[in-house]
């Protein structure tokens, strides 16, 4: 905490404040558009950060992440489509409220809840990250290798109904990351075209794998028009919203605690936190029947929890390099392009960057809430932007975003080709997050695997080096548990789908 206060002056620079403001607007915009996910928003903005100071760039990404998750409530409330996956539970009471002519109230509650949850998440980030980073200093090459495996197993395990495809995607991502020269021996691998000589850079991969499939999906859904709710502004709502939150102490506390806990567990994500908290608050309520029919407490439960996961998801990311969510995986890419590697160094050597970033995340919560409340008046206009206009705009941003990092047309070609392949992969049920994470964690895994092998050959042998020792066994056990969790989740998903669509249980063969 003291270290953070030391860097507070840097945080209050004009550049950082401008980035916080612009990032909040951009994040809310991306969150409110149902076709554009927070992950894609952060992926598209990673290249812009290349021209900024590392701390400013990270603040932009963190701010967009926070605001996009909160902004997802806008479309969930107004058109009954979650703008971000984390807003699924918000839809349950938000849209009924909008249909009752209370859209503004629902949005104000959503943004206030996001502020409280977001602050709780950032406080957890401030207090839990340094001790965990100190613990990470005990890690050697074998532990770092298993950490990468653990990261992949978690993201793959959460690919609903597609565990094996997720795992295959993770391994394929790691394989793709090895294209180019070997980091240890300097020999070229998989270079079947000159374009691949310098390997696959993170930015083209991030943008290609997330943005191109989403652009083509926008084209597929070009003429779909959602039914919009009527938004009628009412004065004096802020005071009554604050008064409501004073009555909902239990809901906010529960949402924050569950959000932090679930956010720290890598891969669990905002949607899980939102749904679990919503369910718990409903069970504890004196009037559970009112939930799902426009109970504002339902919105506060969901939004507090999903926003609390944002700060919490950064805890394993900054300390161990394990992203807590696909969006955090993209943020990891943002760290890496500035030459910052997760772990203890972030809190010693690069403490100025890290603490300025964390401080920025704290302030971002207030700006997000303020901008969200302002923005909710104009949200109807934003959601009226048709896919026909969105897809070329996103394509142009993706192309220039990829190009400007290395001024290379080769990167643009790689981005487009990877994106097309991912689009085809998605049609076959392959999720993109494990592939991206594989590409990001691949170099870390390979380097530590080779270093470990070298140590093992001169010391105890590969098996003893990689498969013995408390930390190694703990990480292997955690990877196995996450896979088992994935298998159980897969079976439950199949059962749910079978009951929901008995005739089409077919698609469940996407193991």
């Amino acid at each position: 905490m003291l270290e953070m206060l030391e860097h507070f002056n840097q945080l209050l620079s004009f550049g950082n404040m401008a980035v916080l403001l612009l990032g909040s607007v951009a994040g809310i915009f991306f969150g409110a558009m149902p076709g554009l996910s927070p992950t894609m928003a952060v992926a598209l903005l990673v290249p812009f950060t290349f021209y900024m100071q590392p701390a400013t760039g990270l603040i932009l990404l963190g701010c967009v992440y926070t605001s996009a998750v909160a902004g997802g409530a806008i479309s969930a409330v107004l058109i009954n489509i979650p703008g971000a996956p984390a807003s699924i539970a918000t839809m349950l009471d938000g849209n009924p409220m909008a249909k009752q002519g209370r859209a503004q109230e629902a949005l104000y509650i959503a943004f206030f809840a996001s502020l409280l949850g977001g602050l709780a998440g950032v406080l957890a980030l401030i207090f839990l990250t340094p001790p965990l980073a100190a613990f990470a200093m005990k890690f050697g090459p074998s532990e770092l290798f298993w950490i990468s495996v653990f990261g992949i197993s978690i993201i793959a395990g959460l690919s609903s109904g597609a565990l094996l495809k997720g795992l295959f995607g993770g391994a394929l991502g790691m394989m793709i990351s090895t294209i180019g020269y070997s980091p240890m021996f300097g020999e070229p691998r998989f270079v079947f075209h000159d374009v691949l000589l310098s390997g696959i850079a993170i930015v083209p991969a991030l943008i290609g794998l997330f943005a191109v499939p989403q652009v083509l999906t926008l084209v597929e859904e070009l003429y779909i028009v959602a039914t919009k709710a009527d938004y009628r502004p009412r004065p004096g709502l802020i005071a009554s919203t604050v008064a409501m939150f004073l009555r909902w102490k239990r809901t906010v506390t529960l949402g924050s605690l569950l959000g932090i806990t679930i956010g720290i567990i890598p891969g669990a994500g905002g949607q899980v936190a939102g749904l679990i908290t919503y369910d718990q608050v409903k069970k504890l309520s004196k009037d559970p029947c009112s939930f799902g029919k426009g109970n504002p407490e339902g919105i506060s439960a969901s939004e507090t929890a999903n926003s609390a996961t944002v700060g919490a998801a950064l805890i394993p990311l900054l300390t161990l390099g394990i992203p807590g969510s696909p969006t955090a995986a993209v943020l990891l890419g943002g760290l890496l392009i500035h030459g910052l590697f997760p772990g203890p160094d972030l809190f010693t050597k690069y403490a100025d960057v890290t603490y300025t970033f964390i401080g920025g995340m704290f302030i971002a919560q207030f700006i997000m809430c303020g901008m969200g409340i302002l923005f909710s008046r104009y949200s109807q206009a934003v959601m009226n932007i048709p896919n026909l206009i969105m897809f070329p705009a996103v394509t142009i941003l993706a192309v220039i975003g990829t190009y400007c990092v290395q001024n290379s047309m080769d990167d643009v070609v790689i981005m487009f080709v990877l994106g097309l392949l991912m689009y085809l992969g998605q049609k076959l049920g392959f999720p993109s997050a494990p592939v991206v994470l594989g590409i990001i964690l691949g170099p870390i895994a390979e380097e530590n695997f080779l270093r470990g092998m070298m140590i093992a050959q001169t010391d105890v042998g590969a098996f003893s080096y990689f498969f013995t020792g408390g930390l190694n066994l703990l990480l292997i056990a955690l990877s196995a548990i996450s896979l088992l969790w994935g298998v159980i989740g897969d079976l439950q998903y199949r059962r749910r789908m079978k009951y929901a669509h008995p005739a089409g249980a077919a698609q469940l063969s996407s193991t």
């Binding site: 070329p392 142009i396 192309v399 047309m409 089409g504 063969s509």
Partner: protein, 148 residues
């Protein structure tokens, strides 16, 4: 056992593995230790997928909605053309033409002069914003070509 989309997935998994295997065998063995480990992992997952497919009882294909093949193919071709053209005619010109052409080609309302003017205006605004951001503010080098 009926042949379903999931069997195509299995085949693709093994094609990907074969592709990387062919490239691994051509590379220096010292530098392919880690890729080889990944290849073994991918093959193992492929094998598990076969077992899962055999154990799967019902495998029906999903009719679903009609896929807009021509619309998506048109846009893929347009993006490819845009990327190629950017190097020759410049980023801003290519972006404006891409924006205008793709929105006009795919819209389902008549091409009246008013609609065309609105689209052109939007395209110009987008390009002007990008120019301000990239060229003026960030001073990023962009593909110039014969125009800009």
């Amino acid at each position: 056992m009926r042949f379903s989309g999931e069997w195509i997935v299995v085949i693709i998994m093994f094609i990907v593995c074969a592709f990387f295997y062919a490239l691994i065998s051509a590379a220096d063995p010292r530098s392919t230790q880690f890729p080889l480990l990944m290849l073994v992992l991918m093959l193992s997952i492929g094998a598990l997928k076969i077992i899962a497919q055999i154990l799967e009882k019902k495998q029906l294909t999903n009719g679903g909605e009609r896929y807009p093949f021509f619309r998506v193919s048109f846009i893929i071709a347009a993006i490819a053309l845009y990327i190629v053209a950017m190097d020759y005619i410049g980023f801003y010109t290519a972006s404006f033409v891409f924006f205008l052409a793709s929105t006009l080609a795919l819209q389902n309302v008549p091409h009246t002069p008013r609609v065309i003017a609105m689209r052109a205006g939007l395209g110009l605004t987008l390009c002007a914003s990008l120019y301000l951001l990239f060229t003026v503010l960030l001073k990023v080098q962009i593909p110039k070509g014969i125009f800009m």
